[in-house]
Symmetry: none
Subunit: 216 residues, 4 copies
DNA sequence: GATGAATGAGTCTTCATTCAT
DNA sequence: GATGAATGAAGACTCATTCAT
């Protein structure tokens, strides 16, 4: 258990440095200097620098995975939008709690080695797939208009990534309002509802085409 | 001119490799191996690896900057949404044309050195600011509902980044449809207009709060 | 202390090689090969080759500086010539003790970089200034004839440099005799005293001009 | 002949740069930049950088060799001291005329490669031998007191080297006076003649020992 | 367990020299 | 002859990892 505490402490320091300098510019000297352990000790707790980083990465990925739940419909399940909101809220809360860790994922996670890059990409693809399934479900339930759900899934993923990415390196924000903004943006977009209504009345049909303004 | 041609050739090869392996995993040996030039020749054309990379980066950034125009309103200006659509179209077209270059920016650009990281961040902030201004303008013109425009600007930026980021490493897609999807998503969100109308009728007010489904 | 011992060992080997091949022809591989350490180990103890060299140089310069004392006159001070002799003796002894180090200074020290070159030149200028002051003092005390003391200071410096420079790469010599030769040469020159007396009697005046033989 | 003129011009530029930066810090780019010739052209006139340098070196060495004549005695020969004076004068004149070239020899000539270093050393040894022979001859002729002529030869050589070495990097000096100073220094040393006379009267004998002041 | 000295593979960069035009 | 682009050997330096104490 002592061992675990020591490890955790090194991880804590390393997290800091990785968040600030990224993977490649952080070297073992930085970490052991900060953690005040000897060079050899580092390798007592971690196989190597990559493994340490991987562990941190695993932590964000699994925590985020745990906080993003598949939308469920059926008796006894709460309203899908509420589920959606909860997902976003849990993600935002985690980002605010663990800025350094999420900063690593959101702002530094690229170009390690094939495997880690791959793992991150797969994570995002899993999330995108989850979103896409929710959209498909929403379409089925007549809650969501017909779209290219794969493209839109990435739009939604990107929107959240970017906004929380900025969040993870900015001063604390008010969670509830931000969650609502994101949710509203995803659901309603930015155009004024009245205009959308008007557009809808004048022969727009639900699947996209030619609404509000003429296309060229 | 000969010189420029040679330079361009090396840049072309380097672009490829950077796109595939990222900045840190690419070394000068990779580049000269691919470009089939001697080690010394590389340094004839570029001060070092970083400078070469910087040049590629500069190219994407300035090309994108050129393709993203500020939305203008007034007599003689075309419809703002059309301008928006054109911006998105031009970006998407560039991404499809220059996949490798944009892939570098979108999927590998982080953790070089303070200066390059900074430059990229500033680029995105410039774009976000542009979007935010457009949103503010839209609100003024009663085209856009009231929102936290800064947060939403990042959402929009992120949505586009992600979708074109995926694009830049996927097989060619149909541009027009994708542009329309992105645009529609940004303007209308994903919810069915009928539901939004219904929600609007039942006491929702335009600026966000509690629409469609109850919050917890 | 262990660290210091290791450092000293590398310095010892490097000294050898620098003395034999000079600064530019010596590379790090030579040093680590001789010292039987790995490449990285070298950089554990020295920032780079230049720094190591600088350290050796500093050592000779400071040791020589310490051994060359300003001539002092006054009650309680020993005879100036004795002081002079002691200076020369201490230098000669050091050269014989630390041939390699002094060989570096005397026979290889030129053309490193501006800074080191500068430092060496300043050292010699300091010594020359010291000698000049002694000469001026000697003139004041009526021990030394009137001369261009700056030029003669460099003559004396050069005489000593050259003779000990040869010394530092030759088999051991008898110190006391050599010191006396140098001292006598500086004080009396090479001409036979009788001739000088004769010349002095026949209208030569002490400050140089036309003595002993006619000038053309 | 055109060829020779071109060569000479490159040599002239190279001389400048070598004098300022020394052999190792001067690179071919410096030379061709200054001489305004193409890289390939350089190798049309010189086999390589070393050969060019060697040529400059050869020039100084042979010119100096030509100006330093062996002292001759016998009917029809001028007074040995006058011959000495002429040697010194010719050297000083050359140094003042060809500062850059002599600066290279006097202040930068060490650490090229074994062969050049060797050649320079041999040159000096030849000069030293010449001086030594003159001294031996002087002793025979009862003009020179008995000394360790080898050591003193190096003293004299060093004195001249140093003083003209300083000269070659200083503003122009008055030749005649300097020559006389050097000559006087070599012949009479620095001590006042009266003191030497006194010392000689009180039991000093000509070969060095215990004159003027007691030894410790 | 803890330490930190030692390692050496991996990279970058320079620069004298060559050679096709 | 003249050019200057191309070459590649030589050398410097870094840093993740190992290992004897």
């Amino acid at each position: 258990m002592e061992r675990q505490a020591r490890r955790a402490q090194v991880l804590r320091h390393a997290k800091r440095i990785f968040a600030r300098k990224g993977y490649h510019r952080t070297n073992v000297a930085d970490i052991i200097g900060r953690a005040r352990i000897a060079r050899g000790t580092f390798y007592l707790y971690f196989q190597n620098k990559r493994e340490l980083f991987e562990e941190l990465l695993e932590e964000v990925l699994s925590e985020l995975t745990a906080r993003i739940l598949r939308i469920r419909v059926g008796p006894g399940e709460s309203d899908p939008v509420a589920q959606l909101r909860d997902n976003i809220r849990r993600v935002v809360e985690y980002v605010l709690d663990e800025r350094e860790l999420t900063d690593i994922l959101l702002n530094h996670s690229v170009g390690f080695d094939r495997e880690l890059d791959q793992r991150i990409r797969e994570f995002y693809e899993r999330i995108a797939a989850l979103i896409q399934r929710s959209l498909d479900l929403g379409i089925e339930m007549n809650l969501v208009r017909k779209t290219d759900t794969r493209a839109i899934a990435y739009c939604i993923l990107g929107a959240i990534k970017e906004v929380v990415g900025v969040l993870s390196r900015s001063p604390k924000a008010e969670t509830a309002a931000l969650v609502e903004e994101i949710l509203d943006f995803g659901l309603r977009g930015v155009a004024r509802p009245e205009l959308l209504e008007a557009a809808a009345r004048h022969g727009g049909h639900e699947d996209g085409g030619g609404f509000l303004f003429a296309r060229n």
